[in-house]
């Protein structure tokens, strides 16, 4: 029933958007869409028994992990829709977005929400793969609605890197299917069956399948060395979209890795898979930390920080202890919210100065006090300062990393210090630049809409509340995810 509800609402919204005439209607419909998904998922989480399966072949299901991910995504999409109202209007005013492309923008926005939601609710891994590919198509579409030639190149890069790597994932799925066909009599890609029968599968072939699957999912979530597309795409996409890409779409890849890892974890190949994840995670953190030092574009800096955090989450997954997984999941939530805050505030700066280039940003605190506050708090939060949400998850993941190996902990601490240094350097420069704008091009004050301000304020409040107050139902939810993953 719930599964049909998502599809029904999604289709209805799409039809209405296609027939809508004004920006206001399209935007309101997108808000309703995301809010509806959010409410349905919360309802399902609270009042129905999970996991529940749908369709005769149990192709879809909702377990706690799926519900958790959908809630994060729907929340981000909702906030992004609220933010988009004023932001997109501004883009059209300065000609970065044609009014003719508005409908395309909102259609792709809502299609992306549907694809992301269904990818999180797919029990069948092949279906998951299909929806994950669709998220790439729709994200690329959103990136190229802007009037900039460079965006086409960025989208093409994304499309190529993500989808060629995803073909490797598909080979992994074929391996898995063949393997289950031999071990269980009938081939299957349903995650629940794979989980309960993992012990009967050959660890060697399972690990080979895992490596193939990992390549594609890693590219989807921007794990180094498959991250080449990520900084360009996040920087070129409209800020409202960058927030979604970073907090929701790239989690699709990570989600796939978690699901695949949970299966391998049931067998003797678990240790090799852990090492693989930790190695790639560590490498991502390292690559990102050193790349961040050189950034002069705020959005690129934030984008590289996404790679760093994905690496950290990969390490958390690889450690594989219940505590590590618990905090990795919390990190996913905290990171999504913090990144959205940074991208939203960055978007306001972009409107004010017409660029994210460090040299252009002058008198930021005076001209855009709220966005400046958002950036300062966001940066403090993302590097793991208390009292914000990421502090907790970073601390516990690092502690768990220390239990695994002291050397990894030392290495990580150093790298995180480098990343924090990169943020500190950028912020110091950004907010110490005063003086007159000689060109005088952007001195007039840009006034963000109420929706833009509201979403920034809500996000600041959320990451603060999550940092000081850990609600019991969140603990319960994360605990049930950990136990469902069999970790």
């Amino acid at each position: 029933m719930i599964m049909q509800l998502y599809a029904g609402i999604g289709l209805a919204i799409l039809v209405l958007i296609l027939s809508a005439r004004s920006h206001k209607t399209m935007n309101a419909l997108s808000k309703i869409h995301a809010a509806a998904y959010l409410l349905i998922t919360i309802y399902a989480l609270m009042y129905t028994a999970l996991p529940s399966y749908y369709l005769a072949d149990r192709y879809f299901f909702m377990d706690h992990l799926g519900a958790f991910e959908v809630i994060i995504s729907a929340l981000l999409f909702f906030l992004s829709a609220v933010y988009s109202k004023g932001y997109v209007e501004g883009l059209m005013k300065i000609g970065e977005l044609d009014r003719g492309n508005l409908k395309l923008f909102y259609t792709a926005f809502n299609l992306l929400l549907i694809a992301v939601t269904y990818s999180f609710l797919s029990n069948n891994l092949a279906l998951f793969w299909i929806f994950a590919e669709l998220t790439t198509v729709f994200s690329a579409m959103l990136v190229v609605t802007l009037n900039a030639k460079k965006n086409i190149g960025a989208a093409l890069k994304y499309l190529f890197m993500a989808s060629t790597s995803m073909l490797f994932s598909f080979v992994g799925l074929i391996f898995l299917f063949t393997l289950t066909g031999h071990a269980l009599g009938a081939g299957t890609l349903n995650w629940d069956i794979l989980m309960s029968n993992a012990a009967q599968l050959s660890p060697k072939i399972l690990f080979a399948a895992f490596i193939f699957m990992f390549i594609g999912f890693a590219a989807k979530s921007g794990v180094a060395p498959f991250h080449g597309w990520l900084p360009t795409v996040y920087a070129k996409a409209p800020s409202a979209i960058s927030a979604i890409l970073s907090g929701s779409v790239s989690t699709v890849g990570l989600y796939g890795i978690i699901r695949a890892y949970a299966i391998v974890h049931q067998t003797s190949a678990s240790y090799s898979a852990s090492l693989l994840l930790m190695a790639f995670g560590f490498f991502s953190v390292a690559v990102a930390a050193f790349s961040m030092l050189a950034q002069i574009n705020l959005k690129k800096l934030i984008a590289f920080s996404s790679i760093e955090n994905t690496g950290l989450m990969l390490i958390g997954t690889g450690i594989g202890t219940p505590i590590a997984i618990f905090w990795m999941l919390f990190h996913m939530l905290a990171h999504a919210l913090t990144k959205a805050l940074l991208f939203f505030s960055g978007g306001v700066m972009h409107r004010q100065y017409g660029s994210m280039h460090i040299d252009r940003i002058k008198n930021a605190l005076k001209l855009q006090p709220l966005a400046s506050l958002g950036i300062i708090i966001g940066c403090a939060a993302i590097i793991g300062m208390p009292p914000f949400a990421i502090f907790l998850s970073k601390l516990y993941i690092l502690l768990q990393a220390g239990m695994f190996s002291n050397w990894m902990l030392f290495g990580l601490l150093l790298l995180l210090l480098v990343a924090a240094g990169a943020f500190a350097m950028y912020l110091t420069r950004m907010f110490s630049q005063t003086g007159d704008d000689i060109e005088g091009a952007h001195v007039e004050n840009y006034t963000p809409s109420r929706g833009m301000n509201a979403s920034i304020i809500v996000l600041i409040a959320l990451i603060f509340v999550l940092g000081v107050f850990f609600p019991q139902y969140l603990t319960d939810l994360l605990n049930s995810i950990v136990s469902e993953l069999g970790l």
Binding site: D98, L104, V137, K149, F160, V171, F177, S202
Partner: protein, 259 residues
């Protein structure tokens, strides 16, 4: 009567031919013949599905064959040819990292390595020889596609490389007849969407932003004829008013490699 031996040898011949088409794609420079080689490769895949159907009679293979024929032999090559003609790039002459000859040698090496690795990994499953052959060639084809993507500069050629990878995966999955029908169909639809999106983007790289948006955006009321009919011979013509009504500089209309 068709004997199993005949079927097996036909499959082997088809697999060899598919490998040959991949090799041709690696060395070819002429864009149109790249696309038609891809079309031939897809046709071979289609024949393969038919032969496998003759062998085990699974109706799914028949559906797959039809889907392959429609999407990969007809629709995708047609769309790509159209875009390619519009782009006005005849040849993709630049190679980086690998020259065609060394790319071919690398591919041979890759096939060998894939064969060795797969025989190690899959040994315990005792798969049929045919499945094993399909897996080896399928995965090798993927790597050959990757070589094309890495060693060529033109986006259209890169798309052909991606399509070759796709064909590798499909070749592999043809031997898995138990995969549920609906999923196989969705996968193909998915891949077609990706390819079309990539093709439109490739068009955008060398067109003006308004032309690109008109292609991408079904909501802009601009007829196909305006883009592909009337504008067919405007190479070198002066800049034209964009659909939005503002003048656009006639940038990069000749395509060419702008990277």
């Amino acid at each position: 009567m068709i004997t199993p031996v005949m079927i097996d040898s036909t499959i082997k011949v088809l697999i060899d031919l598919i490998l040959a088409t991949a090799a041709i794609i690696i060395v070819k420079r002429d864009m149109l013949s790249l696309i038609s080689t891809y079309s031939v490769q897809s046709f071979l895949l289609f024949s393969m599905a038919l032969v496998l159907y003759a062998e085990n009679g699974s109706t799914m293979l028949l559906y797959l064959a039809v889907l392959t024929l429609v999407s990969k032999v007809i629709v995708i090559p047609k769309v790509m040819e159209k875009v390619q003609k519009k782009l006005n790039i005849k040849r993709d002459v630049e190679f980086h990292y690998l020259s065609p000859t060394s790319a071919l040698f690398t591919s041979m090496f890759i096939i060998l390595v894939v064969h060795l690795l797969l025989s190690r990994i899959l040994a315990e499953l005792q798969l049929s020889n045919m499945f094993f052959l399909g897996a080896t060639v399928g995965i090798s084809l993927m790597f050959m596609g990757m070589i094309i993507i890495f060693s060529r500069k033109q986006t259209i050629t890169n798309i052909v490389g991606y399509l070759t990878m796709e064909n590798g995966v499909l070749l592999f999955s043809l031997f898995l007849t138990e995969l549920p029908m609906i999923i196989e169909v969705l996968i193909i639809v998915d891949l077609v969407m990706l390819t079309l999106m990539a093709t439109i983007l490739a068009f955008g790289i060398n067109a003006t932003i308004d032309e690109f948006h008109a292609r991408l955006n079904p909501f802009i009321k601009i007829s196909e004829s305006k883009l592909f009919g009337v504008k067919q011979n405007t190479c070198g013509a002066e800049s034209r008013a964009s659909p939005a009504g503002k003048a656009v500089p006639n940038m990069q209309k000749f395509g060419g490699d702008m990277k």
